[in-house]
Amino acid sequence: MSMERRNFFKILSTASAGVVATGCGTDSDKLIPLLVPEQDLIPGVEYWHPSVCTSCPSGCGVVARVMDGERIIERTTAGKTEKLRQRLAAIKKLEGNPLDHVSGGRLCARGQAGVQSLYNPDRIRGPLKRSGVRGEATFQPISWKDAISEASDQLLKVKNEAADRIAIVTGPVASSRSNALRGFAKAIGAPEPLVCSVASHAAERKAAEIALNWQGIPFYDIANARHILSVGADFLGGWVSPVNYARQFGAFRQARMEVRGYLAHAESRLSITASAADQWLPLKPGSEAQFLGAVGRILLDLNLAPKAASLPPNVLAAFKALDLAAFIAATGIEERKLRLAVEQLGKSEGPLVLAGASTVHTNSVDAIVASHYVNMMLGNVGNPGGIQAPAKSPIEPLTNTKFAAALSQARAIVLDEANPLYTAPKAAHVREALTKAGFVLSFATTLDDSAAWADIILPAHHALEGEIAVAPAAAARVSLAIGGTFVQPLYETQPISNTLAELAGGMNVTFQPATVKEIAEPLLPKDLTWETVVREGGFHTDATPAAAPLTKSKPAPKAAAPTNAFALNAAKFEGDGPFLLQPYLSPQLHEGASSNLPWLQECPDPASSAVWSLPVEIDPVTAQKLGIATGDNVKLESASGSITAPAYIHPGAVPGVLSMAIGGGHTHFGRFASGRGANPLEILALATEPATGDLATGATRVRLTRVGPGKDLIQYSSEDKEERPHAHR
């Protein structure tokens, strides 16, 4: 670490602090000067500039290696199109920012691949206006001026009629961008922007609020724990902050003298976390609440809950009153095993229970709340190696996930960094909403499933092309990762803040989004200057910042506990098929927003080794019963439709559960993703987690039938046994 730090400073000190880009006008002739070397760009010399990854809410700080590059552009002058070579600053590689507390200099596969979305050949090159029927994805280029005036006219019309019918939909990343959207919504009198994502982690937020009165997603101090029981959270895979937790996991395992952390993992899928665990407890889907109830109860029974007295009385009573045998039976785990696991946890010097909802069930909040109370009785809330309060976020995250209702009413839909047509099930009727709405506007950088339905696309800069600040989803310290402008925009795109300001202007509203500096400055600790923050790519302060006290110290009002009654409801499932569908966030494709990156498509799926396709994981017994072999096409059918996908007979699949990674089945998402595979989210029932209103992704029953042999499963390694059978006969 010290080495990395030294290196890093050295590199930055040689880099020019100035901005290389010359900005971008609306006139193509005013693009970057051709073949004229940038003064600041010496061929062969590398510059490292900090920025931030926006591929998931964890907000890892990155550094980008910038060197000179060359591209071919076409330029039309006087009706003649000529091809020209253009020299410009190009990002060669993304690495974690070693100064960033979240990434610590590391990145996940998606983070690494971010540069491929910047240089994706399918990016939108300028403003587009729909030329055919909506949804057909036929567009024609339009000038920024016309595009803005047309879009603002349309928005203004809706605003004047029913401002509350403007639905602004965005993703789960808490950034200067989401901040700007919120400001824009407020300025034009529209409702707060909605989050449409299966990675919004609403259940985690809600549970922390209920049990601990914490705002935000708790932070788990894995590195200092000794024995972790994790429940329902694939924290090394697609959960809240995979890079940070993987870093901590490495340390948890092997960074301490004489101490090796022990991980027991309870989840209804053999995720990469379950694979890395010392023990996997394959839960029945939706039984996390029952499991955690049983854990708490057994701890109490065994007198292994030293801080049981700190529990709210109703909670303690509820633990003591629960029907243990029924709860254990509900989990599907052998009683002896479960008891042993709890005993080991309770006897550890550093126990930690980590719970989340990688798959959301209708009782996920119950489960996570229970986990907090178990941690409370173990006495590790707020302590090293325990669960810690989220730092106050410098950017207020958007938390309204009830997009389906809003969309169905919407007269105007504004899409930014959200792809509701993909991430919401058919049953949410997004397609109907997009058809019905008077006006659909998108700020997409690449034409995705939903942007294909836009009337006007005002392409924003790629996150690496403009200024950005991201507040990490999970951090115990106040942190903000920021990125400046250090490469020229490739196309006729605009910073989202400009676009929003211009749109507002067109609607006769004055609105100027807060700049990154304006967002960060109030939270700056006294000893940190803005220049340092810019150079270091953000701040991750150990000291309590001047203006931002941690919320942790605010104790939960005693009266709050009884109103937030503690319940451990059973999960509800929709439909009548014999199997449960469990879509999951894979480490490479997450919620599908990275599917258009070839590096990630050809990155083998950790479970099935599939590349360029994602299979349905079926357990061997079911497969045998239905005569399904790996590679066969199978049909998954729910009440709201069916999808066909290749099968992978997963030796570790939980019987009766069909897991499938999200990421395939894009109708529109560039050449590398369009029409590839199937989207498991598509056929989900519209079940919700009642406490959050968030989509319950694991609550749909489906039917499974074999379609026939298929060619869609492409495996990098088809062999999954290390030793080949070689009977000596």
Binding site: K93, Q112, A113, Y119, F249, A276
Partner: protein
């Protein structure tokens, strides 16, 4: 290089990092179906046992830079050889594509450029200028990111100091979130890798073949 399997989560960040660093050609679904995805580092995954008592083994496998590399003597044109620093290097310009080295690599870590690689405009902007683009017909494999080693050595030379332990970080090592990979000089007894290589969990892959691999695996503690 030391790879701690007790830390490795199988997340594949290293795989993408290697692509990003080394200008490795992209596959297409059609080519992938023919078994032609090029990865210089791959994560072998094996299942052991049956549900519910099933274990998963992930093992990153890259060129082991064998001291007695079986791939080297068989190359008719000396395109793959041992450099003075002990790396198994691949000279793309000399390779004529006989495939012999790949057949003789017991770890199957060599990959071949079946066609000239293609990057649709403007993807070439990402190319690392420190690493050559290999044409079709040429064998390639993990270089231990020799360009990074050279860069650090040059910097150290210019500053008139020795290369510090841990200063060289190949792309995969650099990226690994779990910090499962450690790179350093095995010839230096005080380096971190040397220390770890002496760990009780240390093994080498197929050492019995006499290849003297330079990648040390620290087996999962149980």
């Amino acid at each position: 290089m030391v790879i701690d399997l007790d830390r490795c989560t199988g997340c594949e960040a290293c795989v993408v990092a290697c692509h990003s660093e080394n200008n490795i050609g992209m596959s297409t679904p059609e080519e992938a179906a023919r078994g032609r995805v090029n990865h210089w580092i791959r994560i072998d995954r094996y299942y052991e046992g049956q549900f519910p008592d099933i274990k998963v083994k992930y093992r990153p496998v890259l060129c082991q830079h064998c001291d007695e590399a079986p791939c080297e003597p068989v190359c008719p044109v000396n395109a793959t050889y041992h450099n003075p620093e002990g790396l198994n290097v691949q000279v793309y310009n000399r390779c004529v594509g006989t495939f012999y080295c790949a057949n003789n690599c017991p770890y199957t870590v060599r990959s071949f450029n079946w066609f000239d690689p293609k990057w649709p405009e403007p993807m070439q902007l990402q190319h690392n200028p420190d690493v050559s683009i290999r044409p079709g017909g040429v064998m390639e494999k993990c270089t231990f990111c020799i360009q990074r080693i050279k860069r650090v050595e040059d910097q150290a030379d210019a500053a008139g100091r020795p290369v510090a332990d841990g200063e060289v970080q190949p792309a995969c090592v650099q990226s690994c979130p779990a910090e499962a990979m450690i790179f350093g000089d095995l010839n230096d007894p005080d380096s971190k890798v040397s220390r770890l290589a002496g760990d009780g969990r240390a093994t080498k892959l197929m050492e019995e073949l006499g290849t003297k691999p330079k990648v040390v695996y620290l087996e999962k503690a149980r």
